[in-house]
Symmetry: none
Subunit: 498 residues, 2 copies
């Protein structure tokens, strides 16, 4: 037991270092003056290096072995905590320090090059830096895979969603590929047969948008004693335990983007704020992984807040806030704006029906690149072929194509699939929550998220990392992750089938 308790102390320190980095990273994207960038990079690198040293120290290995030997007496939470400690240790210790450092440098270089390359739509200028990142990601995948007994891509996946494997994703994505094109076509045909929704005319003053955002966060259940809302170029949910900081960006011409963005990040924040208090600072107290995390943002944004019921609550609130009236501001028009389906080039602007196509494309490309079956030089052509096949769009330039996302130049390989797995999980969880509570959807119409939040808190947030993603979903919904609920959701919302 002493070895286990020593490990808890050690991981609490690691957690505090991670939280410190979380706040410093948040600050870098929200408030930091430009001249501080080099110093901040140093601070974050030093913190990362120290955390790596603590995690991979021989004493950590000794304590893990001792605790595992004595582990039969531990309760399920402590056993799971020990399992997560071992996992974190294996991930960290399997990659040689020089590879970690080379990767960190390559990613910094490649991200910097990418910003300019995207602006200039100039893939050739990014290619060498991206090839170097790919080379190192393959090496990291191989090194982790050897230690974990996984393929390189599975080892990368495991870093974002513990237990997730390509063999689990492939059949799910095959089902999506099978039924989505038909659904999209049908939804668009129905849409075309109706008059288009009326756009909302700006301007929408930023401070007013912020006030509405804060009010909506409060309605969803954001705890402002343990978090904040701020502004950044790229919206995110970050910060630290009990200090969850979400960001948005405002556009005076478009009120929908900032508000639905705030609601999306509020979903992430609810998860973070609802993690099990008794396991604060321990690995088992962390959110389970990126698929479930995305499910929590999408259950708030897509399932709850783009519903017809919620539009009934939102419409008068917006009319009051911005002093508007008329048919554009009816609940029905707002709803129709929020569920508009329209294939487009940019992933982050995609509606929920066409979004999975963007992910299927990227998943196919990144698995091929990690496997060595696709080179960086061939990426733009393959990307554009995929956009034509999957969405029927002819990509006019790489800025609207394979240069749009930061993930690959940023070294986040194995991350993309979690977006769509999260969308599926969101539908599955929402339908289970709805089945358990008749009042859930009507409550949304009153801006009351209590039924939804209470259900999610007990079944997802407070489960921390006790089980794997499928385990949490089985407990909560009676089944592991599948596509059925997602399909049902899309059919109900877009084809009006009950």
């Amino acid at each position: 037991m002493q070895a286990y308790l020593d490990l808890e102390q050690r991981f609490a320190r690691l957690h505090a270092l991670g939280d410190a980095s979380g706040i410093l990273g948040w600050d870098a994207q929200t408030l930091m003056p430009d001249g501080a960038a080099a110093g901040r990079a140093d601070q974050l690198a030093v913190l990362k290096g120290l955390a790596h040293d603590i995690l991979t120290a021989p004493e950590t290995a000794d304590l893990l072995a001792a605790a595992e030997d004595a582990g039969t007496g531990l309760d399920p939470w402590r056993r799971a905590n020990l399992r997560e400690m071992r996992r974190a240790y294996l991930h960290a210790v399997s990659v040689p320090r020089d590879v970690v450092e080379a990767n960190s440098r390559a990613v910094s270089r490649s991200e910097m090059t990418w910003r300019q390359a995207r602006q200039d739509s100039d893939f050739a200028s990014l290619a060498p830096a991206l090839a170097e990142v790919l080379r190192l990601q393959r090496e990291i995948g191989r090194a982790k895979g050897e230690r974990l007994g996984l393929t390189p891509y599975d080892a990368l996946l495991d870093g974002y969603d513990p237990g997730l494997r390509q063999g689990r994703i492939d059949p799910l994505f095959a089902q999506l590929r099978d039924f989505l094109p038909g659904l999209v076509a049908e939804a668009r045909a129905r849409q075309a047969a109706e008059p288009a929704p009326i756009p909302l005319d700006g301007p929408f003053p930023v401070e007013r948008q912020r006030q509405v955002g804060l009010a909506l966060m409060g309605a969803v259940g954001f705890d402002f004693t343990r978090g904040r809302l701020d502004v950044s170029l790229h919206p995110f949910c970050g910060g630290a335990t009990d200090d969850v900081r979400i960001t948005t960006r405002y556009d005076e011409a478009d009120v929908t983007r900032a508000l639905l963005g705030v609601l999306h990040e509020t979903g992430h924040a609810l998860y973070e704020q609802g993690r099990p208090a008794a396991w604060r600072g321990q690995p088992v107290g962390e959110a389970r992984g990126m698929s479930l995390h995305e499910s929590q943002s999408l259950i708030v944004e897509m399932q709850a807040c783009r519903s017809r019921a919620f539009a009934g609550y939102l419409a008068p609130l917006l009319r009051d806030a911005f002093g508007r009236e008329g048919p554009a501001w009816s609940a029905e028009n707002l709803y129709r704006l929020h569920v508009r389906v329209e294939p487009g080039f940019i992933r982050v602007d995609a509606d929920e029906m066409t979004y999975p196509a963007h992910i299927l494309l990227r998943y196919g490309l990144e698995t091929a690149m990690i496997a060595g079956d696709l080179t960086v030089a061939d990426l733009p052509g393959a990307f554009n072929d995929g956009m034509r096949d999957l969405l029927g769009l002819q990509v006019p330039n790489d800025k609207l194509g394979c240069l749009q996302d930061i993930h690959w130049p940023g070294g986040s390989w194995g991350y993309f699939p979690t977006y769509t797995l999260g969308a599926m999980a969101a539908a599955q969880l929402f339908q289970a929550a709805q089945a358990a509570q008749d009042d859930l959807v009507p409550a949304l119409g009153r801006g009351d998220f209590t039924p939804l939040r209470t259900w999610l808190r007990a079944r997802v947030h407070e489960r921390g990392s006790l089980l794997d993603t499928d385990g949490i979903l089985e407990e909560a919904t009676g089944a592991p992750l599948g596509t059925a609920a997602f399909r049902r959701h899309l059919e109900q919302r877009y084809l009006g089938t009950a």
Copy 2:
């Protein structure tokens, strides 16, 4: 040479940890939600503990010994850097790690308690936390003193102003105690014989005050690419290298407090932003100590910005900013408001003539508490007795008495005397700068700080920690720190003697 170079690397890492703590500490006082306090205290304690480990590691001692043995070939900056490394090592190694972490936690807790206790004027609610901080400060003073060959209080002083000793302060403060009461009485008698200055009528909108503050920061020479202005309850200058963050608080009824507060903190910030770039991240590149630091804030606020010349620049700027006119807004009236002498309860609101009395009081009390001659329980009574003796004021409640300052609950014991030593140094430096440059004061009348800033940059800011405080003052002014220039300044400004 290799040992010295290894030390530079080691201290660069320590510096990055310190900068990380600087930003996290700034955030705690400006933006952090209340519920994050416990977690933030953990983060800061862990960072402090890790820095302590690196600094006190046996390898540090070995490298120091090796570098000192080989040190004859080092140039003066490197020699001074090595001296400062040794000093930092001795301060750190003398305090056991558990005491360091306990102190960090006790201070975080006590600071949080203090915020509420001050608001409620409830000393009893702070007393236990404050007693714990005092206990740890006495322990730290004793431990450092043993290693450094100093009394506990001198050991604490040395942490804020290297080389400063009670034996150096006592005669200087005795001189102040000797001549100040007479000067104050004379100044107040002269003041009473004239019509009172006309108060500035509010309200002064906060956003407008902020804009004026930013404009004045720019005029003084603040570099906004490497710093920020924000709001906190207790104004301060903090942050990190190349990320200097000053704060103020706004009162719609009073424009003077925020603006002169901003100018004060801008003086601190100029010092931080002007430190020698070649020694960034090294101990010798740090500001020399808190006495010199305070001299830089006071040379801007008191010497420059409360001068008659600067009032001539400020008056039209304020008239424009707030859309006012009339006799209250004349330069002469503004000047007379800025140099009004009036004993009061609150240290940070005190004029420069009565301010030293607040410091003499606190210096006497904290030396007694560290020596074990005064308990926390007896502090309010002793504080109030002192206020009566030194300023002739009857303190009506602890909010206006011993609860007003964050220093004691914040663990900054040995800090208070540097305020008045800084005021003396500011007068001494300003008179030397003025003697060297005829245009210095006339330039202030045009809002041009270039002559003052250029002189200070070369003679104070860019000297870093090459010499001790007296050494820097001797180089810059021809004499070590004394009371003569301060007395001359007060006589000239308040008694009109040339």
